[in-house]
Subunit: 256 residues, 2 copies
């Protein structure tokens, strides 16, 4: 069974658009349990749904709390994200390290959560003090102001990367590489045509010219289809301009 993804707890979020954007990135990375503590403009807010681009389920199911402790009540491991150093002696993780820790905990059946502060000032120290560790995104010290939904996105992304560090199946290469023999066949044809064309000149440079050309095509990791295409290219080019067209026209004429 898949470990249950972290709950996302937003403390005093200000803009409904940002809450919607958080829901959207949660959906992008497989998270769904959203909890709101004292959202500034109340709840529900239509603009949240408008900015979620269809990721409505975290919003539909979102729960609202007056007190942070109630929002955290059922969770067993909670990390607080913050950009500022704190006077609290808690472990400090990057999102990647945090995802690893949370994943291990969730895999062993614990309920886990990520805590985020509001847009203007982030979490209060008293809020951070309710967490088991601090997560901080390694931003450039020259520009620390990270958007709320971006902070959620990076942590949710790291969760998903930890769960499965591989591209979706649709991206598995569809074309298997050609055999060495097929590539050699093409390279032999190319060399033959280059000899015939007089390109391999002067003779003493021929071996290194051929080696360099081979490297280009070997590096490309050609598929069978590509080898066939390239053979067609060499054939077409070496017949000289217009020859293939003439041949096609002749074929067509013969048919007609």
């Amino acid at each position: 069974m898949e470990p249950r993804p972290p709950s996302v707890i937003l403390v005093e979020p200000q803009l409904a658009e940002n809450i919607g954007a958080c829901a959207r990135v949660m959906a992008n990375f497989g998270l769904s349990d959203l909890r709101l503590v004292r959202p500034r403009d109340g709840w529900p807010q239509e603009r949240a749904w408008a900015s979620a681009s269809g990721a409505s389920w975290p919003l539909d199911e979102a729960r609202v709390f007056d007190r942070l402790e109630d929002a955290l009540a059922d969770l067993q491991l909670v990390y607080a994200t913050t950009a500022r150093a704190r006077e609290i002696n808690l472990p400090v993780f990057t999102p990647r390290e945090a995802a690893g820790e949370l994943a291990r905990a969730a895999a062993s059946g614990l309920s886990v959560g990520l805590l985020f502060g509001g847009e203007r000032a982030g979490l209060e120290s008293d809020d951070v003090a309710r967490a088991h560790a601090v997560v901080t995104v390694p931003v450039d010290p020259r520009f620390r102001s990270l958007n709320l939904a971006q902070a959620v996105a990076l942590n949710a992304y790291e969760w998903r990367m930890t769960m499965a560090d591989r591209p979706p199946e649709a991206f598995e290469p569809e074309q298997p590489p050609a055999t060495h023999e097929a590539v050699e066949g093409f390279l032999g044809q190319l060399e033959g045509e280059l000899h015939a064309s007089g390109f391999l000149h002067p003779p003493e440079k021929t071996p290194s010219m051929l080696r360099n050309l081979r490297a280009v095509f070997l590096r490309a990791g050609l598929s069978d289809q590509e080898v066939r295409t390239l053979r067609g290219v060499v054939t077409a080019l070496s017949k000289g301009r217009g020859k293939v067209l003439e041949k096609l026209a002749a074929k067509k004429a013969a048919k007609d």
Copy 2:
């Protein structure tokens, strides 16, 4: 010296707010070179600055292009981010893998870039076909719609994480890769000769045939010297068998 961070190229971005949000996350993670190809509402747009939360420098310095090839002209390694599977045989990386590859390239002095499509439909296949590899964020297949600035954020974040981790020195490649412009020049010549030869037949298949051919040469990561060699190859082949030899013999005869 620190490697130069990737340029961010946005193709037909629609909302100025999103361009501003991209600038903000670029600043969060130390990127600054922003290039815009045909922004829908023109440029500059005040709303971009308003949504950048003070990260104005990528916007102040942003350059606008009519054609993608011009926006890429000086770059040596470009990755295209896309959520959809393509019929193009290019390597596919996660943002983490891509950041590693780009960092290695940038550490050895190359100019690198990340290409992003517009909000509505992402990149066209012809745009992807100008890149050396594809980057795809491992989103949940049940909700793939990733906000543009989030996509930029995740890639910029991975760049910064990779920089923080990076080993002190990189091996210099022996031959620096050709610029995009040089590779495009060769591909243009090849396409021209293939048109002239009648190879690109039937016409409805021409675009995908050309995209597949492009992928072979982009994947190979051609050096300047290799581009020159390949241009010579195409020229020699397209003159037809023996023509170069005849010319050389004629030259020799004229000299004698």
